[in-house]
Symmetry: C2
Subunit: 353 residues, 2 copies
């Protein structure tokens, strides 16, 4: 298997190095051969090549079986014009690879739940998956422009019906592998696109009679994620609602630094990345938490390669490290021993081999 | 002053009756003369007049100095085609009256904070105001339509630059009357409309040098509202982001049943309504909590009529009722005495006169 590594900016370099070591160890243990190629994206690509997404990076990703990304962005590029912003690299590679399904599993770790802003009773036991449509909607629709000498501005939320169908199918399939409950989030009382979304969900549910379906308006969903996160199993929604709700959900369990994500193409090819950002303030200090990136490699093994056992080995190792009382500076394991990136990586490696 | 009452659906009737009694008592005490006219909106208007927003209602509101609304909606009309949905009445009256600024103050009551899903340390002391643009953006933009035989669907997010300017001015002025901190929320790393939004905020801040300004992306705002609500004073944002964030914020303090809102026109005319919905399940039973509607009349006195002292009398009376240990069924005052709508109204009346 060909894996492209895109470390990107800030702590990206450090966490990708860690995750690669863990992935290598596990694949060797199970006798798989993975080959790694490193390429530039984001701010570092702007500095070296004058663009956040070099042709060479696109080509390498297109020829690969999976991509592992660190993070993009930082204050250095914040004032750049919009085509020279690190995020454009991320948006661009999603579009180029046709990564339409963003999967964000959110599950608390017992050792970290006390760091949640929510009361223990409210959050304990929550285990949800947000499936966000990633290539359509308001972030990509045209026209997106100023008009009338700048007196007016327009963005466009646009969806092809088949784009909605494929993400809804993906979510139903995900729900099948879990607790068989799907919440579809839209704003069908106002938006035409949401009405089509709701129709598609209603049509598709006939094909998945074993999955229970519920519709929720996005404003109500934003409330219920906080008041009762346990009521959710799989949530499916369009690009922008998914952006907002998945970030909202990411802070519920008190372990943002532990959350992985997957962005998938129809054939299973995917890009995997931690949910946290590039954390420029601690970059290069050897203190970054590599666990979300390590957990992202588990998602890669599961979703792109169907290697469930290998994925579970990584997830259990991470769980074990926390149970053994280790943490990085961003985490707050009660009575835990704080370690740096390298030592944390070694502790995980010890437990996967 | 001419006040239009729009009870609407569900518990609307009951809470409007309560709020009217309180408003009458306070205005009499201070020797103001208010005249009341009741009209139909929402589901009840669909049933009686075949439209959620009768001409007659629009005309009465246009001739009034302020409008007090109960709630619209209910399962009875959920399957209606979209032009015959109760919400259309609400969207329509906002548009007809030019109510561009939706103000949602969110402040916890000590007696109710224990019902918050958030830990006490996280939520105690939070006191924020969300200023949502209400007449532009994705909910009103055209085209909003299916295309290509239903294979494609489009909604349009559109803003006039001066629509952004007036809401940003409104928010700066609100911040001035509070702790002088303004958080502007957008998605300027992706949307053209958000770039214009950010430019306008940057331009306007020169006129308000005493107000500290911060920009936040909507996904980050959705996180920070939960992890640290205390960091916010005034939040200003466009229509849809405001819809989502204000509902998210409304559950933080554990007292959704206590939250008022104001929707204002440039000349100060406004529509006032509780944040909670029509609660069809408990309608007509005499148990609805009238306090959010009563508090909405305080906002009316303050924002439409500049009657700050009168507004404060109502707010203090509500505060006092809670301190004295009374609550309605939806609230959970520890060791509190549960009362119905009429008795709660009497308790407030006792304290305003
Ligand atoms: C960087 C940005 C464009 C991106 C998005 O909103 O898609 C990010 O917020 C995310 O959620 O991955
Ligand atoms: C009923 C609906 C159209 C409305 C809105 O989103 O504007 C409601 O959610 C609100 O927030 O007042």
């Amino acid at each position: 298997k060909q894996i492209v590594l895109l470390p990107g900016d800030g702590i990206g370099q450090e966490v990708i190095e860690s995750a690669k070591q863990v992935l290598e160890a596990v694949t060797e243990r199970f006798h798989h051969t993975f080959t790694y190629h490193t390429h530039d994206i984001g701010g570092v690509a702007i500095d070296k090549h004058g663009t956040p997404l070099p042709e060479d990076t696109i080509r390498a990703c297109q020829q690969s079986d999976a991509v592992l990304l660190g993070a993009v962005g930082g204050p250095k590029w914040d004032q750049n014009p919009s085509h020279l912003r690190p995020e454009k690299g991320l948006l661009g590679i999603r579009k180029q690879l046709g990564l339409f399904a963003n999967l964000r599993p959110i599950k608390g770790f017992d050792q970290l739940l006390h760091a949640s802003p929510l009361k223990h009773d409210v959050v304990a036991g929550s285990d949800l998956l947000i499936v966000r449509e990633l290539t359509g909607g308001l972030y990509f629709g045209t026209p997106s422009e100023r008009r009338n000498n700048g007196k007016e501005v327009v963005d466009t939320l646009s969806y092809q019906r088949d784009e909605i169908e494929r993400i809804v199918d993906n979510a139903f399939q995900s729900a099948r592998l879990r607790r068989k409950h799907l919440t579809s989030v839209d704003k069908a009382n106002v938006l035409e696109s949401s009405k089509v979304w709701r129709e598609v969900v209603e049509e598709k549910k006939v094909d998945y009679p074993d999955v229970e379906v519920e519709h929720l308006l996005v404003d109500a969903a934003a409330m219920k994620l906080i008041t009762n996160p346990k009521q959710f199993d799989v949530i499916v929604t369009e690009n922008m609602f998914g952006d907002i709700l998945s970030d909202e959900a990411s802070v519920l369990t008190g372990s943002l630094g532990m959350l992985p994500s997957a962005s998938l193409r129809e054939d299973g090819m995917g890009l995997y990345e931690p949910v946290h950002g590039s954390a420029p303030d601690i970059a290069g200090q050897g203190v970054a938490n590599p666990l979300a990136t390590i957990l992202s490699t588990a998602l890669m093994l599961r979703h792109s390669f169907g290697l469930e056992k290998e994925a579970a080995v990584i997830e259990e190792a991470v769980q074990q490290v926390l149970e053994d009382g280790y943490c990085t500076g961003d985490l707050d394991v009660k009575g835990g021993k704080q370690v740096g990136t390298k030592e944390m990586t070694r502790l995980v490696l010890e437990r996967v081999t």
